[in-house]
Every structure is written in C-alpha cells, then in structure tokens.
Symmetry: C2
Subunit: 272 residues, 2 copies
C-alpha cells in the first residue's frame, strides 16, 4: 500500500518525503524512503519533519501494536513522556492512533492528513467497478453488512464482515480480513457452510464516525483472490470510505474470478 500511495501522490506532483518505520515497512517501502526510524524515535521523527519544513504528514500502512517495553523511546519521545503514556493507554487500535494524531497536531503544530487526501484517486466511489454486477440479493447482503459494521462501530473492532443469503457468517476481529476470508473458504470446503455456487458478499466499511486519517479500510487484488477462494459472489464497500490498492489490478482480479466490486453509498443502508 505505501508504494501505491507514494506513486499516486507523486503522479499529482506533490513533493513527498518518505519515512519508513523499521520492522513495520516492507523492504520495497524502506528502499524508496528518504529516512528510516524506529517506532520509539518520536524525537528523531519530529526533528526530520521540522528540518524538512514539512507541515502535513500522513500515516500509510499498518503499525504493529507496540508494547511500551519494546519501544526504546528516544530522547525526544522521553521528553514528551507524559503525553506518550497517555496515548499508550487502553482501548482499541483506533483510539490509540487517534490519540497519537491529536498529540502530534496539538503539541507539534503538524497537520495530519489521510490517504484519501494524499491520493484521492485510490478512494472507491459508488457504483459497479467490474464486469459482473451485484444482483438484488447481493445488494441486500451488502446493505446488511454495512448495518452490521455500523452496529460494531462503538466497539472499535471489525471493519469487514461476510454476509451470505441474509446471514452474517464471519466478522473480522484481530485476525484481519484475509484470515477471515480463509475461514469462510474452510467452512465451505468442510461443508459446514452449505451454499452452492458463488454466494455471499465481503463487506468492508470504515467504522461509523471513524477518523479517516486512521486505518482506512483497503481492498486489493489479494482481497479479491481470497474472496474468490471463499466462493463469494463479490465485494461491497462503503463508497468514499474504502481505498483500493491498485484499481486496475484489483478490477482485473475480480473480472478473472467473476466477482463484482460495488461501492455502496452509506445512505443506501437503512439507519441502524
């Protein structure tokens, strides 16, 4: 994802300074980065950013949930320790990142932007993206999925569910979307989920009221491949709320697997 975002942002000739986070960034991301820091090097990060005259920063990709003991905070982080400790408190990943962003914005005068601002072309809009179209049954499953994700929102957990013929068969927890889809594939091949043909919809959406600068949901060719292996009819996302990691490759994967991808307006779903 970071590579795709950087390429998209460069294509619109925005000046970029890329900082990789050690252990979190892939080799390819690290190779294109101008600098690499550890997660605990908040001081180095702020020095780098301010030294470059940067005023807007974006967080791209997933961060491992850190243990304070593993962080090896640098001097700049230790100087900010009370604020850092407040940030590290309980709650979901989302709450953690939101507090981190608020701290950086309020105390350091930086503006934190989302990927949807850095690379708006990666945001999935409403309507069909693929040759295969969602039929009414699929759209009913998609709508139910959006409602279910909305109901889960206050709990800061799943951004993805699988609905099959009006029945939620899988909800994403800490395992992530890929593992959830593998579970659905296993349930089908073991005969515990007995449906014939391509049936069911993977639904992804941001949590209601989610800070879009934090952990915006993403689909990509891999998602489509796993959805196909789970025997699903397609993938529905909340239009404007989900990113695509490579539109052409993702669409091509869906067309090959005869899956639909559909952007559904949140207002299409009944309020829950």
């Amino acid at each position: 994802m970071p590579l795709i975002v950087v390429n998209e942002a460069r294509a619109s000739s925005q000046p970029l300074f890329v900082i990789a986070i050690q252990d979190a960034a892939s080799a390819a991301t690290s190779a294109m980065a101008q600098a690499t820091i550890r997660l605990g090097q908040l001081g180095t990060f702020l020095d780098l950013v301010k030294g470059q005259g940067i005023s807007r920063v974006a967080l791209v990709g997933a961060l491992p949930r850190p243990h304070l003991a593993d962080l090896r905070l640098d001097l700049g982080a230790i100087r900010r320790l009370p604020a850092v400790l407040r940030v590290m408190g309980g709650g979901g990943d989302d709450a953690l990142l939101r507090r981190l962003i608020n701290m950086v914005e309020e105390r350091e005068g930086l503006k934190v932007v989302g990927i949807h601002e850095l690379a708006p072309s990666l945001v999935i809009k409403d309507g069909a993206l693929t040759t295969r179209q969602a039929v009414p049954r699929d759209l009913r499953d998609a709508t139910l999925g959006l409602e279910l994700i909305a109901a889960l929102s206050p709990f800061d957990c799943g951004q993805a569910v699988v609905i099959m013929d009006g029945r939620p068969v899988a909800m994403e927890g800490a395992e992530g979307t890929d593992a959830m889809l593998e579970r659905v594939a296993a349930l089908r091949s073991s005969g515990r989920l007995r449906v014939r043909g391509q049936r069911g919809v993977l639904v992804k959406a941001p949590k209601r009221g989610q800070d879009m600068r934090v952990d915006m949901p993403v689909i990509g060719p891999d998602t489509i491949l796993r959805a196909a292996e789970a025997g699903l009819a397609g993938v529905a996302v909340e239009a404007g709320g989900v990113l695509v990691a490579g539109l052409q490759e993702t669409r091509a994967a869906a067309d090959r697997g005869k899956l639909f991808i559909h952007g559904l307006k949140a207002t299409d779903a009944r309020p829950s």
Copy 2:
C-alpha cells in the same frame, strides 16, 4: 449435551421419550433413544409423539442447517408442505427454528419447551463458579462482551466473543465458539496478539430477545480447555441465559487451568 440433559431430566423423575435425529445425533444419543427419525420425517415425528400421548417437546443439541433437496420429506411433511416451505425461507438459524417451533405449536397443538425448563439445574446462575475469581479488569471485559453480543443481536449471528483488555479480538460467526477460541490461540502463538500471561475473557450470552427454546448457548469442559489454550483468564456468561454441559467437569477443568467462570447478570451491563 443430549445425554446430560436426559440424565438431569430423568433425575427429577420426569417421564421422557427420546427421539434421535439421524446424522445429527451422536451414537451415544442414538443408543439411548426410543426412536430414530430423519430430519424430513415430520409426519413420523408427529405420529410418534401423538401416539405416546406427549404434549411437551424439547429440541436438544444442534441441527445441521438442511437443504430442502436433502430433506426427503415424508408424507406427513409433504401434507404440511406450504407451512414447511414457509419455515425453510431465508434468515438466520434462529429465525428458521423459531418458525419451526411456531408451526409445531400452532398447527399440531404441542408445547415446545426449552432445556432450561427440562433441566433447570444446567442453567448457570450469577456469581463465581470457580476457585479463581474474576478481577475488576475481567469484569469490565465481560461487561463489554455482553454489550457487544447485545449489539449483534438484531443480526442473528454471534453468541460468543473474546474481549482482551477492553478490546474485542474475536467474534463468533458460523465457525462456532471452539474454532473462534482456536483462532485466538493461533493469534497469540504467532505473536499477532501480544499480551502476556492469562488475559482476556470468553463471553457467551443468548442474543437479546432470543427464544430460549432455540439454541441456548452452552459451555462445557471442552470450552474451558480451549479457552485455556487461548491463554484467557476466564469465561463469563450471562447468568440465567447459558447452559453448562456438566457442572462438575466444567468447574474442574477451569480449576485445573486456573480460569474463572463467572455468571454476570444482564442488568450488570450498561444498556447499549
């Protein structure tokens, strides 16, 4: 479970007539049954029940979700076909069984009772069941879990979730509680869920407004074993809403694994 329920009910000297459902009942259940029928033999079932002068029936254990094509309906079922077809329509397992119960009660004059009425001693009451006690952090996780299950209720899906330090890490879908606990164990052993020591709570509760004659949640020694393998601190259930498959064995398994089992009043949870 059927064996345990039958033994408990016999202990209270209720007269029982046990009918096993082929392919769904275990060998042990079939061996103690006075009759065995296929799932599609609604006619035979009603003839048996009425021939015995039975007025109250209970459904014990899980039924495979049937495909109409596999049912091989008998004459008595075919005569009732319009009603059966209405029952077989869409929706979750719960909705299906509730319609089946309503049909049997309204059209056949039988009263359908729940396991909690047949064997009330199997219902978990409020308070601690084990040597290990839930600490305040565990009770917070338990309360959050009850709230999450309540929020999922309208979607007729999970009756079980795993909460760890205020964070929902797994929600049960079609895979069932055991597979969900195996997932949590795998997430921990792979380091994707980084918590130390026994942490987190399996929470089980009936869906809000659930018909207690249908699919009441159950815990047993196996549940405890898997919760222990997932490194959890304990198991919390909604008091009065969850059955135990063998109180002594389940408590002994928890004591061996140093887990708590705690019955939490639904009113202890904040309304969601």
